[in-house]
Symmetry: C2
Subunit: 381 residues, 2 copies
């Protein structure tokens, strides 16, 4: 009368093992059990429980009966068996380039939440920014027959292989924070140009004219458009950008290197002895690094120097001073990516035609304590 783990060691070499597996309700109850127990056939049970098209012919009494029995027995469909027939795994691969980037958590939350609404399950993968790991995970996800793939490409590098492999296997995919070349993969990004504009506009409105910039690494897709937005606003508002106050972060594989970079580069800016009353950093981490350097050098933020970041990662509101930044709607982006791929999945199911889409979400300026109006200074132009 053992159940479960209790009698397991009896299986040893040559003992007269007592048949214990048949005891408790340890056995998984299959659809056949429900069928037997309710007096109908497995087919009927399946039709009823899935509310399949044929279900409209099934007598209401039958339906009720079957549903009752299923519940009483605690029947749980076997996802694997189901998949084997229906080709639907009810899972989606969610691949992060590097989850340690604070950018990722809200995105993950958004993805998870949207999938949950559709009763899909996320299979989590983290490439640690390594190509081979990325490929291995891709392999694993394909083996698990995820119905779709979402790639959160917050940091460096892409893989063309991805595109090929996926479109070949008819798996809809979407990237967040990156755009694939070609026309196979949908994408969700923030409108970086608008964001850059927003940030600089804010500083400009506050009266800042001598502004330092720490640009993002060249390899990051976000860097160029943000800078473009900055240049455009500078141009349209007649603001002059002093090249001596512009630095660009080097490419790096560590998403958290921005902090260190912001720190070092701000030190360097300070050494140049060119006065600036505000600093615009590539992202929040960079901004935090900058603030650290400024504070250490005795430059008070925001009194002596305003700092603005980009992203609005969760810690930005907790830092001291709390950070003025351009918010990416991270959770909404995760959400949208799910909706996109789900649409693709459904299209595939219904043999409908479907085309990829590229979204640029609107950023939003979040004003906190790291910026304030420029103090009027005699040497200002």
């Amino acid at each position: 009368m053992h159940i479960g783990g209790s009698g397991q060691m009896m299986m040893q070499s040559e003992n007269p093992v007592l048949v214990k597996r048949h005891s408790g309700k340890n056995q998984t109850i299959t659809m056949r059990d429900v069928a037997n127990s309710s007096g109908f056939s497995p087919a009927t049970v399946s039709i009823v429980l899935n509310n399949a098209p044929l279900a409209r012919y099934i007598a209401p009494t039958t339906k009720k009966r079957i549903e009752e029995v299923a519940k009483k027995l605690g029947y749980r469909p076997n996802a694997m068996a189901r998949f084997l027939r229906s080709k639907r795994s009810h899972s989606v691969g969610v691949m992060f380039f590097d989850i340690t980037d604070p950018f990722c958590t809200p995105v993950l939350r958004g993805i998870e939440n949207a999938l949950y609404q559709s009763s899909y399950v996320p299979i989590f993968a983290d490439a640690h920014n390594q190509r081979n790991r990325f490929e291995r995970y891709l392999e694993m996800l394909l083996e698990h027959h995820v119905e779709a793939l979402i790639v959160v490409a917050n940091w460096l590098f892409v893989d063309i292989q991805l595109v090929a492999d996926l479109s070949k296997r008819n798996i809809t995919a979407a990237t967040i924070g990156w755009e694939m070349p070609g026309n196979d993969v949908s994408s969700v990004m923030v409108d970086n140009e608008a964001g850059g504009r927003l940030a600089l506009e804010h500083l400009h409105h506050l009266g800042h004219r001598k502004i330092a910039f720490i640009r993002g690494p060249k390899m990051l897709i976000d860097s160029a458009p943000r800078w473009k937005g900055i240049l455009k606003l500078a141009h349209s508002s007649g603001l002059e950008i002093d090249p001596a106050l512009v630095l660009q972060l080097p490419d790096s594989f560590d998403p958290n290197s921005g902090f260190e970079g912001g720190y070092r580069f701000t030190e360097e800016l300070l050494q140049r002895k060119k006065r600036f009353t505000a600093l615009m950093a590539f992202d929040d981490l960079t901004a935090l690094g900058a603030i650290r350097a400024l504070t250490k050098a005795g430059v008070k933020v925001p009194e002596n120097c305003s700092v603005v970041g980009f992203d609005d990662v969760p810690l930005s509101s907790l830092s001291a001073p709390s950070l003025t930044t351009v918010r990416q709607p991270l959770e909404a982006m995760g959400n949208l990516a799910v909706n996109i791929v789900m649409e693709g999945v459904n299209a595939g199911l219904e043999k409908r035609d479907w085309s990829i889409s590229r979204h640029k979400m609107n950023p939003e300026l979040v004003i906190r304590d790291s910026t304030q109006a420029a103090v009027l200074s005699s040497s200002d132009d």
Copy 2:
């Protein structure tokens, strides 16, 4: 002569839809394809590719042949079909109470990394601190037949249901940051008592004698032992704890409420006009809130007041000032939890006996910029 999905769309009502699905190598290649293509039977292919026991009888030439063909065809085993027979899903459920807690990211990383080593895939679930969501996810994970479950119970509430359901279904489980009543679930925690001791010891060594405390919420399992460690050290070192300098956070369902709590409670402590030269917070977020309040009130950290946190969440090193704290080895804890459940999985596979385990990991003091030696004051005892 159609195979598989090719002719399916002809089922449409009455349009002569052109069969475009049949173009590329879209069709998934099955084991049968490898068998046909190599001239052996599916059985042989399976045996070779899995290196099953019987493989020792297979001729080396045959093996090579099959492996070649499999690779050339790009054969990828169908995880579902495989599972259906072998009862192994090669997936593990990873359930978070609330992923927005910064505590979770490193744990997730640790779990992911360990699973990756074993070619297991994590199915991610986030209960959003809601019981019904927790239960629904549990249901979904069971449907997907995860081989094990890891619950990261960083924040409030537990569910007894969990224990029952899992042990009934013979799924090994482990919790991180929580202990289940009963003897069904392994757990991994930090040694909170030692941590509490470590933190206070540090302050004491620095010469602090008037220390304020913000204790954790009663419902959190960590709160009591941390406090116990504090009391013990206070006792053994002859430190006096002034009840007027001790506050306890209220229970809350938001893991990030600690910041707000730390802020408010610190304001309150300041209002009491009882001098203190150091503050020990329940966790890092609370400490950050406290620092914010202190700074706002003109109390400089660490010059006028040292602050120490607990956990060493990623943002603690980035805050200004960077936070002295007690580090939980979060990644290692995730790792360990995986090893524990994998051990259980293997035991189950080999019908071995196996018993749960409870681990207390050693915390480590991380000294950063938020603490410094107490200034000698005339009124000190």
